[in-house]
């Protein structure tokens, strides 16, 4: 046996140059095999072909915000941001009286503020519902006016971004309690209640939103007693609430299903009644788990508000399309769609990132 008296650790060596650093990264990520290398070259070539013209159109050849439409129409080699410059207030606020645009703007800010604050777990407390109610009241006052010296604005004049956000946020908020009941009902062991809830949820989820909007637009008036009418916006809002309730109920049901049986048994063992058990033990946990899917529902919902254009309401997409019909500014659809696309994208993307982050952080919480 030739055992060494004491082992001297070998020094750590630098890896071969080709496997680390920029070259290593390139080898690993771009040229790891022949097919990969070919793909990389192809994509670089494609990017080279598309990016410069795109940048040229977007910025270099583009006309700034204060160009006249005549100049833009004469030369279409670049984007005409003058269109956006001319129309952005109309696109954002619709036909709301021009001098009062600070009101829809404040409304949007309130909504964004409320949504942003709701993202923080610090505010997941019952009292925060009060903040929401105050916020929504403020929004109502701002938009309708008629008090505090604000001029009254008919809701037929509302449009653009505030309308988009309002339809989705109010729809979500009002549908929420309903969806909790539906989710509980669907898991109820009372057959009649379960059947009603399942029937409702599957009915709504089985038909396109357009048909619900149709219903609100052309049929809803017939459901009400003679002489009792509800205006178009509110009817669309009702359709959205009914729609949202079914989808949210499914998200919440997922949360309820994820609660281990032991929690129910523990609550029963404590002698709690059904509503005490649900309200104090199950729902707080289930809703927390449900938040990421609820946020995803909200994103889908936010995008779906664009469908109100079909029943003649002017949400963000509606105002953009209306702006495009101006004969002086015809044909700038790319600019218009890019502009509102960016707004939609900003909202949806940040919410989806939030939802993903939340899911991870909740998951961590559970794992611990």
């Amino acid at each position: 046996m030739t055992a060494a008296a004491s082992h001297i650790p070998a020094p750590a060596e630098k890896p071969p140059v080709a496997s680390v650093g920029f070259i290593g990264w390139m080898r690993e990520n771009l040229f790891s095999s022949w097919s990969n290398a070919l793909l990389t070259v192809l994509i670089v070539w494609l990017l080279f072909k598309t990016i410069p013209p795109l940048v040229g159109w977007l910025f270099i050849n583009a006309y700034g915000f204060d160009t006249s439409s005549r100049v833009c129409i004469a030369d279409r080699s670049g984007a005409c941001w003058a269109f956006v410059g001319e129309k952005f207030r109309f696109i954002l606020y619709g036909t709301f009286p021009y001098d009062e645009h600070w009101r829809p703007l404040t409304t949007v800010l309130i909504f964004v503020g409320l949504l942003a604050a709701s993202c923080s777990r610090r505010f997941w407390r019952p009292w925060f519902a009060g903040v929401w109610i105050v916020g929504l009241l403020a929004v109502g006052v701002l938009m309708w006016g008629g008090v505090f010296g604000l001029s009254r604005v008919e809701n037929a004049l509302w449009g653009g971004l505030p309308l988009t956000i309002m339809l989705s946020v109010v729809g979500l908020a009002v549908a929420f309690p309903l969806s909790v009941l539906l989710a509980l009902g669907r898991r109820s062991n009372m057959p009649a209640i379960k059947a009603i809830c399942v029937g409702y949820i599957e009915l709504i989820r089985g038909v396109p939103l357009v048909s619900l909007l149709f219903m609100s637009s052309v049929m809803f008036p017939l459901f009400l007693p003679e002489g009792f009418t509800v205006d178009k916006l509110l009817r669309a809002q009702v359709a959205f609430i009914l729609f949202a309730a079914a989808y949210q109920a499914e998200a919440i049901r997922g949360g309820l299903q994820a609660i281990p049986k032991g929690q129910y048994e523990a609550a029963d063992a404590l002698g709690l009644s059904y509503w005490q058990k649900m309200g104090k033990i199950i729902l707080p946990q289930a809703l927390t788990i449900s938040i990421p899917p609820l946020v995803n529902t909200f994103i889908a919902f936010f995008k779906d508000t664009s469908l109100v254009i079909i029943i003649g309401l002017f949400d963000l997409l509606g105002t953009a399309k209306a702006a495009l019909t101006d004969p002086n500014w015809r044909g700038f659809f790319l600019e218009a769609y890019l502009f509102i696309g960016l707004i939609y994208w900003f909202f949806c993307y940040s919410m989806s990132k939030y939802s993903q982050w939340l899911e991870r952080s909740l998951h961590r919480g559970h794992a611990r």
């Binding site: 030739t2 082992h7 070998a10 630098k14 890896p15 680390v20």
Partner: protein, 255 residues
Amino acid sequence: MQTAARRLPEGNEIIRCIGVNKWYGEFHVLRNIDLNVARGERIVICGPSGSGKSTLIRCINRLEEHQKGHIVVDGIELTGNLKNIELVRRDVGMVFQHFNLFPHLTVLENCTLAPIWVRRQPKAEAEATAMKFLERVQIANQAKKYPGQLSGGQQQRVAIARSLCMNPKIMLFDEPTSALDPEMVKEVLDVMIGLADSGMTMLVVTHEMGFAKSVADRVIFMDRGEIVEQNTPQEFFTNPQSERTRLFLSQILSH
């Protein structure tokens, strides 16, 4: 070369590692590994976590790629050549810490999949072989079940049988018992001991020192990517040469 407890024919090495180096990014995970394994030899590799022992055996069937040095298995050098890699893998069985049985196939199908598709055996023949090995790991009565229906120990035994169905020349074990509940460790170790007795070449990464003492021809201690010490189990446990080995053994054996 240390003197082995059992006499082994000289120059009959089935695995040869010469100056093997591997990096994960900047991290030097295997440092100048020289290791020869003789046919029929049983080697236990131990060492603290992160010492590179799993990486070493995973290099032997090219689940990991080494960047420097040579690995020759049964006369075939492992390089980028896919053909060679496949040839080597057919002859090298591997058992994983987390079993990695295929959940969508029955126990029997798990065992016959590779013989049918890789060795191109007729189904009946593959099933007969599989039943033989399942018999040997004493789980033949579960052949129609799905992995999810078995306990961890049973799953690991199926995994061993699955590897054996390919009739390998070498078996690699990557911490085969560390994901098991204590009461199941023994059933798996018993199977492994039986396998060792049959003369299989085995490389086992494990912390089961009892197994090492009773079965291994040689114990290898790795730390920080290098082989610190190798010796017969007898010498290794009673008279460790290096300070680090001693420290490691005191931690392992104290509980």
